[in-house]
């Protein structure tokens, strides 16, 4: 294995794996990292925490050779380094495991791992390399068939391939960028086991995460960034509580249970009657489903992903055709264009923020007027008053605390949380009667989750009917008035959130009908 670079002559025997000192990274108008120190000891798991846009990715990009720090020094195994490209970083044993996999679906595991290497040069003796990779797997407990094609693998297995890729390239320091975000609970446990096994074999790991319980479970020490500044540098994990960590990240106390006011729901706004629909694969996704949502009420939809939740949101907002009736304020909107639902006062927080909810190459201002560009004072009969549009966007930017240099910033440059705030701000300003929110907090950090949840509750108090579709049971229990559990496109039962418990919902999610 070439995983262990020879210690530099000047470095002493106990040199740290990584030493980043006084790192400053400045982009025009933004100080992404302000004199940040990060020390990664040999064989430790060091958690790096922070809200979206706190500068975690920027700091790690500098370590991976993607950006050059404006000032500051970096030492790897005691040796002073100055990376000009990711290649330089890889040569020094830095391996980055990205959140979004960079794999070729039609090629095998081995082919993907060998991609871009100098060996094999011409003749692909794959069986020989399959064996090499099997050896590596055994060493670290990363099981995945080397001859399998990527598309045949589960998400967890694909992640193992990404890790193998860096190990095969001789990485001694692994940077894992939110590795658990894409995994199922069992897979998370496996990953943590792998991480522990790697550190026993001389690897050091920087673990980026939003999830505080994971950090306390697996990391030795942690560093917290807030707005580019380190609010905790390499403190010990033992004795840390989730509340304390959240405070370090957000800069104030975070209420984990947002307050929900008691209020009586009003008239029925959304009435779905015996609706059936098929999904993109032509399979039945909704089966004679009925439900009602009233004014000032949050109806939570629970269920394992892929049990008809996306299709339910789409038929209500006009993005998918169906059989049956969907009444909004008494008007049937089924099988109509999305504009009909919008006219009826339906707001929609789509599941896919970047793919559906926003236009990546348009500015924040252009994204905020997507639903109201036809209306005065922004829209006139023919034209758009872009001065008004930018003022409107600036107001939203301040009111919803959207972090961006200005309203001409492209949407694709925003972090997930800030993009979600743009979408939410836009949808709320339409004064909706019904809001369909799908996975509104997925992938966001604690601070953003809290503010998004707060905004949803404010909408509830305003009298909006809210259909909240989420995979986070805790979120559903906190926010909803009632919870409907979906299984294979059918409602297994509707529970009052006050006396619902996780176990009962869990059983219903697996297909057991509610015994009323």
């Amino acid at each position: 294995m070439t995983s262990h670079p020879p210690p530099n002559a000047v470095a002493n025997a106990v040199a740290n794996a990584v030493e980043m000192k006084d790192i400053v990274i400045r982009f025009p108008g933004v100080l992404a990292n302000d004199h940040v120190n990060l020390t990664l000891k040999h064989g430790e798991i060091h958690a790096l925490l922070g809200e979206n846009g706190a500068g975690k990715s920027t700091l790690m990009s500098a370590l991976a050779g993607l950006y050059k720090p404006t000032s500051g020094t970096m030492r790897i195994h005691g040796e002073l380094v100055d990376f000009n490209s990711p290649k330089d970083a890889i040569a020094k044993g830095i391996g980055m495991v990205y959140q979004h996999f960079m794999l070729v679906p039609t090629q095998t595991v081995t082919e993907n791992i060998l991609l871009g290497l100098n060996e094999p040069k011409f003749f692909m003796d794959l069986p020989k390399y399959d064996q090499k990779i099997r050896d590596l797997q055994e060493q670290f407990g990363l099981n995945v068939d080397p001859t399998a094609k990527i598309w045949q693998l589960s998400v967890g297995e694909q992640q193992r391939v990404e890790i193998l890729k860096t190990l095969y390239r001789g990485a001694s320091v692994l940077i894992m960028d939110e590795p658990t975000a894409v995994l199922a609970p069992q897979e998370i446990d496996d990953l943590m086991e792998t991480m522990r096994s790697m550190t026993k074999q001389d690897k050091s790991i920087i673990f980026i995460s939003h999830k505080l319980n994971e950090v306390t479970a697996v990391a030795n020490r942690l560093t917290v960034l807030r707005k580019g500044v380190a609010t905790a540098e390499g403190i010990d994990v033992t004795g840390m509580t989730s509340e304390k960590l959240a405070e370090l990240m957000v800069g104030r106390k975070v209420v984990f249970r947002v307050e929900k006011k008691e209020q009586a729901p009003g008239d029925v706004v959304l009435d779905v009657k015996e609706v059936s629909a098929i999904n993109n694969k032509g399979v039945r996704a909704l089966n004679k489903l009925s439900l009602k949502v009233r004014q000032g009420e949050i109806l939570g939809i629970a269920g394992v992903a892929g049990n008809g939740q996306s299709e339910l949101a789409e038929i209500i907002t006009g993005l998918r055709d169906c059989d049956g009736e969907i009444l909004i304020n008494g008007e049937d909107v089924s099988n109509q264009e999305p504009s009909v639902a919008i006219a009826q006062g339906v707001a929609h927080i789509p599941e896919d923020r970047t793919g559906v909810g926003s236009a990546p190459n348009m500015t924040i201002a252009e994204n905020t007027i997507m639903k109201n560009y036809r209306d005065e004072p922004i829209g006139t009969k023919w034209s758009i008053n872009f001065t008004e549009a930018r003022d409107h966007a600036r107001e939203l930017k301040n009111a919803y605390d959207i972090l961006a240099p200005n309203v001409r910033t492209m949407a694709r440059k925003l972090s997930g949380g800030n993009l979600q705030k743009v979408i939410l701000a836009r949808e709320i300003t339409t004064n909706p009667k019904l809001m369909v929110a799908m996975q509104p907090t997925r992938g966001l950090d604690v601070g953003a989750i809290e503010s998004i949840q707060r905004l949803l509750l404010e909408q509830r108090e305003e009298g909006t009917a809210i259909l909240l579709i989420s995979e986070e049971l805790e979120e559903l229990l906190t926010l909803s008035d009632r919870i409907a559990v979906l299984h294979e496109g059918e409602v297994m039962g509707i529970l009052d959130a006050k006396d619902a418990n996780m176990k009962e919902i869990g059983l219903m999610m697996t297909g057991e009908k509610h015994k009323a």
Partner: protein, 368 residues
């Protein structure tokens, strides 16, 4: 060989200054002239004389500048046609065919004739020809538009094939129906169907004698202003950009995408058709074979070089107009094509400067 310095490309993380794209484009055109000069020198030519001649032959006097502008006129309109379609990521490769259909429909006004050419005022005839030209182009844009909107047929194949249909449709009429004494052209149009030229004023103003610049150039510039307004200021332009950037988001925002595909294709076709009208009414004065020397295809390049900005389309079209004029004047005519190729190459590759910062790095910082 180990050089102590190396160039590295850093991805730009911030927005570039507003003047940069213009500076880079102008710089790359200058660089193209320098490289062409070097090549000319290698083959034994006199680069300075050739380049000087290029400028005198295209911008050197009012007469030659007028020729350049005459060539630029259809290019502006066709460049705008491609710009509108490309903004919505509709790959209209059929501006050439739409140009021919525009020319054909505009000719109908004279050849049928649709109005009494003796009694109708010139103004009305010209306006009628413009409208007919736009209708012809719009019909040729409607076909791929509705096919894409309703059945998701690939517009590239359809528009490409429609080019040939338009060409041979035209040929049929000029060979078989309206042939002028067996030649592959119709008889010359009556003067009343000609776009006014500056030379028409030569009796009053001697300076305009022989200047062939016609009203089409004004039409083209007005069209550029209107298209700029549509794209940058109007509600429709916002919708076009939104659909172009993310169709799923546009549908989610309640836009009718099918309707917009058809409308934008028709607008694109109408602009190309107007170019065809301007060419037959302003320059050729009859319907004939080869009224376009590939304007429809050059328009694609112009739209890209202009980065889909209607005003830049005007400037790029003038440059290409100059290259066409110079191609006639400089012998061998290949020189102009050489220059054209190098300019294209330089401008397209200069895009890398907008996406990356290039820095010179000392590989041995300790010694420095």
């Amino acid at each position: 060989m180990n050089l102590p310095y190396t160039l590295i490309f850093e991805k730009r993380t911030e927005d570039y200054p507003k003047w940069l794209p213009a500076a880079v484009s102008i710089g790359s055109v200058i660089a193209a002239f320098i490289i062409s000069g070097i090549l000319l020198k290698i083959i034994g030519g006199e680069p300075l004389r050739v380049i000087k001649f290029f400028f005198t032959a295209t911008f050197g006097s009012w007469a030659v500048f007028s020729d350049t502008m005459v060539k630029a006129t259809p290019l502006i309109l066709v460049g705008l046609a491609c710009t509108v379609a490309f903004k919505m990521k509709l790959w209209n490769i059929g501006a050439e065919g739409q140009f021919y259909m525009g020319a054909f429909f505009a000719s109908l006004v004279v050849l049928v004739p649709m109005v009494n050419l003796e009694t109708t005022p010139k103004f009305l005839i010209i306006v009628l020809m413009m409208i007919m030209g736009m209708i012809g182009g719009a019909i040729w844009g409607f076909i791929p538009g509705i096919l894409k909107a309703k059945y998701n047929v690939n517009e590239i194949i359809i528009t490409l094939m429609l080019n040939y249909i338009a060409l041979y449709w035209n040929n049929f009429w000029i060979f078989d129906k309206w042939s002028d004494a067996g030649f592959q052209m119709t008889p010359q149009f009556a003067k009343v169907a000609w776009l006014p030229r500056l030379s028409d004023l030569a009796r009053e103003y001697r300076m305009f004698s022989g200047i062939t610049l016609h009203l089409g150039v004004i039409i083209a510039i007005i069209a550029a202003i209107i298209i700029w307004w549509i794209l940058e200021r109007s509600r429709w332009g916002y919708e076009i950009k939104l659909i172009g950037d993310n169709p799923a988001a546009a549908r989610y925002a309640g836009l009718n995408i099918s309707k917009n595909i058809i409308l934008v294709f028709m607008l694109s076709g109408a602009l190309a058709g107007l170019a065809g009208m301007s060419e037959i009414s302003g320059v050729v004065h009859r319907l004939q074979e080869r009224i376009s020397s590939g304007y429809g295809f050059t328009g694609i390049i112009i739209a890209w070089l202009a980065k889909l900005n209607p005003f830049t389309v005007i400037l790029v079209s003038i440059l290409f107009g100059a290259l066409i004029v110079a191609g006639r004047e400089i012998q061998p005519s290949g020189i102009a094509y050489l220059l054209q190729g190098i300019i294209l190459f330089m401008v397209i590759s200069s895009d890398v400067l907008l996406r990356y910062k290039i820095r010179l790095i000392n590989l041995n910082p300790q010694e420095a």
